[in-house]
Symmetry: C2
Subunit: 343 residues, 2 copies
């Protein structure tokens, strides 16, 4: 007999299949159970396409089952409003589902408990808040968007053990290994945009494309100041994806940077992967405009070089930026350290 938690856990794994394609929607996974047996599964694949609940119910039916009296498990509260697709609650009620198990409530003002109420009014038994912590992590992008009307911001720092992202002479294109760079491809796939400073573009002339197995053209944001001119011969401005490159200039201040993020959000960019350099990392840190940090650490010591947060300065250790370590993972010869901003 599977526990409620373990089924929601399976729904979370299903939901993750939509990562990188659902934007601006949340990641949702759904499983239908009847007599203790899984009869249908579904997840939300992309904005505009059917929701996870619809996919799971249809799958059960196409598998030859009746969903009448069945149990529905879903990571996020079913929607009760008309968006690009009709409300899931209506379908659930019409289908004769008896119990609905929900990972977490949807804080979207258009839902926010309304879905649960609608189901309960139809005499459906609702069990909620089954895995709030895991479902919150699953939808970190969506939840930041709803709460702050800003994109979710991840910093990705590829550095040596001693925190260096480059040699002083910049004679160091890649610090981490092949596998770590493949992991960065996955990160890019999961984000709507990458962002780098103008200096990094001038010094490294990076491609900043998604070159993985799936199809994705990522938006490329170059943060410039009025004084920094970028040659039009630069890869980002001349390759076949140049239409997806945006040069954005900002004054160097918390409000200036925040305005940029706000503008990106209005453009439909729900998540940004900040890829350097040290100045940009330092400013996102100083202005508290980041959500999490991926440190990809090569088993190397560089010594003198460019520190990952070289432009960040404090006078007292109590003012250091404190993070929360979440997990580490070996990737090739390197190690990934994942941190979240501590609250």
């Amino acid at each position: 007999m599977l526990s409620e938690e373990s089924i929601i856990h399976k729904c979370i794994k299903l939901a993750k299949k939509g990562a990188g394609t659902v934007s601006p929607n949340p990641l949702v996974g759904c499983i239908i159970l009847k007599d203790g047996k899984i009869i249908g599964k579904g997840f939300h694949k992309e904005a505009g396409s059917p929701h996870a609940e619809v996919n799971a119910i249809n799958k059960a039916i196409s598998n030859g089952f009746s969903v009448k009296g069945a149990d529905l498990y879903v990571t996020l509260e079913p929607c009760s409003h008309f968006g690009k697709t009709p409300p899931c609650t209506d379908l659930i009620i019409k289908s004769g589902i008896r119990n609905v198990y929900i990972g977490m409530q949807d804080p979207n003002p258009l839902v926010n408990g309304e879905g649960i109420l609608k189901l309960q009014k139809a005499k459906i038994n609702v069990i909620k808040d089954i895995k709030v912590k895991e479902c919150t992590e699953l939808n970190k992008i969506f939840l930041k968007n709803i709460e702050k009307k800003l994109p979710f911001v991840s910093l990705k720092v590829a550095q040596s053990i001693d925190g260096k992202i480059a040699l002083n002479n910049f004679n160091s294109k890649w610090i981490t290994g092949t596998e770590a760079r493949e992991f960065v491809q996955q990160l890019r796939f999961k984000n709507d945009a990458v962002l780098v400073g103008a200096n990094t573009v001038k010094k490294d002339n990076p491609e900043l494309t998604y070159r993985g197995k799936r199809k994705k053209v990522i938006n490329r944001i170059i943060l410039t100041s009025k004084t920094s001119k970028i040659s039009e011969k630069n890869t980002l401005l001349s390759d076949k994806y140049s239409l997806n490159t945006y040069l954005i200039s900002s004054e160097i201040s918390k409000s200036g940077y925040r305005k940029i993020l706000s503008e990106l959000y209005k453009m439909g960019i729900t998540s940004v992967l900040v890829e350097g350099g040290a100045f940009v990392f330092s400013k996102f840190l100083e202005y508290d405009l980041f959500d999490d940090i991926y440190i990809l650490m090569a088993p190397k010591i560089i010594g003198k070089g460019i520190s990952s947060f070289a432009n960040f300065e404090i006078t007292n250790l109590s003012k250091s930026k404190n993070l929360r370590f979440v997990y580490s993972k070996k990737i090739g010869d390197d190690i990934l350290l994942y941190y979240k901003k501590s609250k």
Copy 2:
């Protein structure tokens, strides 16, 4: 039925109980099995006291068993020479042990296969090289001593995510948390000496004592240059352990540093924990005179500050010091990253 490997694994765990007290001897654990049942266990506790094999055999006998026809498992080849205690091979032969399972051969020139030969000549069945990799790691100190006639050198670096060991204004006594500092106490317990540079002593005035639950007075080495004078009021030169503080001056060169290590080894110091600062870390790295590195990384970003290897310099990434990542472990809010020198 326990496998040979799993019993040697148990022997390794037993052997570790001697860590910090066996110096200059190896860590050894031993188990006696009869009819598939463990009848005696032993480990080597300290130089001059009985070897693991003796302890295990005596334990079996005091448990009321006869060891005649029994199997003996031991992490390291039994000794065949008279040291502070008589040869273990003689006792094993006399006891009527039938099979001897050995984790790894003892490279000590006084043993080096002689123990195995002696057992085989007495018609004892010897199964060797059962867990060479694990037993090599267990006795990393002893093996370095035997091979190089030098102490095993570990660097212990407490740093921020961005590789800083202090603020520029040194307004930062402890970067890592309580639990990480307790781990450092364990490291000190396992080493014969700690070593720091004169500048660190002048700036931090550290205690560098072992303050754990067990009894140990650790040797404290201060590396000085002729120009750096240390006040006699300094804790290391004035506290109750000051007799165990050694001021050693050296020219700053590979041969100079190597000479120091060689002298320490002649003093009976088999292992050294290098605790800073950046200059000393950089030199041990540059001169390739270290064996492993413990990075204790606090979930903090400091930005401008003293880099852990600030005095190490390379002109090309291919010349960076490459290490091998072995494991990571969460300690309190911090993370321990353990690296070995890559061969």
